[in-house]
């Protein structure tokens, strides 16, 4: 049993999964705070087009995902506040990206018999066959994303919770939102690579949403979300490597665990405390003045 855990395949999957989960846990918190869950879903589908396009060009799918999602983050940033929370617009972009992905995939799978399973690995993840080069790219993306988040943490939190007063206080809300979109793009590409286009949403949203159901304090929620993300990924990998049922696919074990964590946190959170966010708490965390006016 432990031979398996020291195997090369498991170690690579573990490293890649940890990088993706760490990014997802932290980015996800801001994502839920900014009510941009649907936008995140669109990023996954843009990654689908990127991955299939890159495969068509003979490149690693991860490169295509990163390129496409960064590009869309920049164009969304150019649209600015007009693009915030507009469900129908996001939906149209998402359906176009999916259509492109379906086109690329159909050309690619038809080009050679050995490509016929490309669809499954892109849609449902391919962490088990991760190449060293992709692993380095994921670790690099992860470090860049975490560094960027650490630098903008305080103003980003302020701008996400209360954009109006943040702007009034001279916080560059617009540039922050572009930075956040770029970080989101990296996290979405990494998660999509690990658990696939269809399941990445679980890794990105569920830990953060679960954490926010349990606590109102931003820093605590952020750390809890990070912990949930790592826990879900590690447990998911373990279940898939040594678990019952002839090794269920990793995408299934991770999304099922994510669903479970979210459901438990929602039930516990509902019973334990009032639902509304405490503004005094937020004040204290954002401005660091102990909650005094």
């Amino acid at each position: 049993m432990f031979d398996l855990l020291s195997s090369d395949v498991f170690q690579k999957a573990f490293l890649g999964g940890t990088a993706a989960a760490a990014m997802a846990g932290l980015v996800g918190y801001f994502l839920v705070l900014r009510v941009q869950a649907f936008a995140a879903e669109a990023f996954m589908d843009i990654c689908f087009a990127g991955a299939t396009g890159a495969s068509l060009l003979g490149q690693s799918p991860l490169i295509g995902m990163i390129a496409f999602s960064l590009l869309s983050a920049l164009s969304l940033g150019a649209l600015g506040e007009r693009a915030r929370g507009r469900n129908v617009e996001i939906g149209m972009v998402l359906s176009f990206a999916l259509g492109l992905g379906v086109l690329f995939l159909s050309i690619y799978t038809r080009s050679s018999a050995s490509h016929s399973n490309a669809g499954v690995s892109i849609l449902f993840g391919s962490i088990l066959s991760v190449q060293p080069a992709d692993l380095y790219r994921m670790l690099a993306c992860g470090s860049a994303a975490l560094l960027a988040l650490a630098v903008v943490y305080r103003p980003l939190l302020f701008a996400s919770i209360d954009p109006t007063s943040a702007r009034a206080r001279g916080v560059p809300v617009r540039s922050l939102s572009v930075v956040f979109l770029l970080v989101l793009a990296l996290a979405a590409a990494a998660c999509t690579f690990v658990v696939g286009v269809l399941l990445a949403f679980a890794l990105l949203i569920a830990p953060a949403a679960a954490a926010m159901n349990l606590t109102d304090r931003p820093l605590r929620a952020l750390l809890l979300s990070l912990a949930f993300g790592l826990l879900i990924t590690w447990a998911g990998l373990l279940v898939s490597f040594i678990g019952p049922w002839r090794h269920p696919p990793i995408g299934f074990s991770i999304s099922a665990l994510a669903g479970l964590v979210y459901a438990v946190a929602t039930i516990v959170g509902r019973r334990g405390r009032p639902r509304r966010v405490q503004s005094v708490d937020l004040d204290r965390e954002v401005r660091g003045n102990g909650g005094k006016p």
């Binding site: 507009r86 176009f96 269809l198 569920a206 929602t266």
Partner: protein, 270 residues
């Protein structure tokens, strides 16, 4: 060129595509007006798990598909109005269902092409019997919407007032999601689970930007939906074997983009 129209599978594709386009355009109008775009994206994906499970059990995928979309639709109908909570819950349920679908797919050692047909659609492989079933189902859905039209419209645009006047808002919302589930199940053979969403939201989103009155918007939406499907099938047939769903998604995006940018109807997007 018109010889193509004599091929039975093209005729079946055009007929089924037209039924799906009309039903999806009509129910899509209410979906967009209710701000349920994300649910429209999630339901087909949840249905995929049902279809994969049905394939595993050896029954027709469409039954599993309908059962799962119906269940999910009813749950969405019951969930409250808070967008933040709703999108997150729908998303987590959706990914869980997709994970289940993946598990079923892994357990199913047989021919996976049927499952692919569900994800990507199989419009050129529709039997004469399936055309009849689609026609009957479309008729029932449209009749239901016509029957519920007034209260549905009222509760869509002004839920508090509708509630005050004794319209059963909650019941309508659940019934409506059941209709969406039926629409999704019947459109999936045309577009595949990944892109049913396009047929639901694309025409309706463009129509609500073009005209204001509900009846006009529904008619424009139906016209656009039919045009996308017909052109999509035609372009796919002309291009060889490129997927129909790609052309439909691209057409719907290319029409939506300029309309959105120079929209004559200034409407608060949901």
């Amino acid at each position: 060129m018109l010889d193509v129209l004599r091929l039975p599978f093209i005729v079946h594709a055009l007929l089924t595509g037209s039924f799906a386009a009309v039903v999806a355009a009509v129910s899509g109008y209410f979906l967009v007006s209710r701000g349920l775009t994300f649910a429209g994206h999630a339901l087909p994906n949840i249905g995929f798990a049902g279809a994969a499970g049905a394939v595993l059990l050896g029954i027709e995928p469409v039954y599993g598909l309908f059962a799962f979309t119906l269940g999910a639709g009813v749950v969405v109908g019951f969930i409250g109005k808070d967008v933040r909570e709703r999108d997150v819950s729908i998303g987590v349920v959706m990914t869980f269902a997709l994970g289940l679908g993946l598990l079923f797919l892994a357990l199913y050692s047989g021919y996976a092409a049927r499952v692919y047909g569900i994800l990507f659609g199989n419009i050129l492989g529709i039997s004469a019997k399936a055309v009849m079933v689609t026609a009957a189902a479309s008729g029932i859905i449209l009749a239901m919407i016509a029957f519920l039209y007034r209260p549905l419209l009222f509760s869509t645009f002004d839920p508090p007032a509708a509630e005050a006047r004794g319209v059963p808002v909650k019941l309508l919302s659940v019934l409506f999601m059941a209709l969406i589930a039926a629409t999704v199940s019947l459109s999936i053979q045309v577009m595949g689970a990944l892109l049913v969403f396009t047929l639901l939201v694309g025409p309706a989103a463009t129509a609500t930007r073009l005209v204001k009155s509900p009846v006009a918007a529904i008619l424009v939406s139906v016209g656009l939906g039919l045009a996308y499907v017909w052109f999509g099938i035609f372009l796919a047939a002309a291009s060889g074997r490129l997927p129909v769903s790609f052309f439909i998604a691209t057409l719907s995006f290319l029409v939506y983009l300029p309309v959105r940018l120079i929209s004559p109807v200034a409407r608060e997007a949901a």
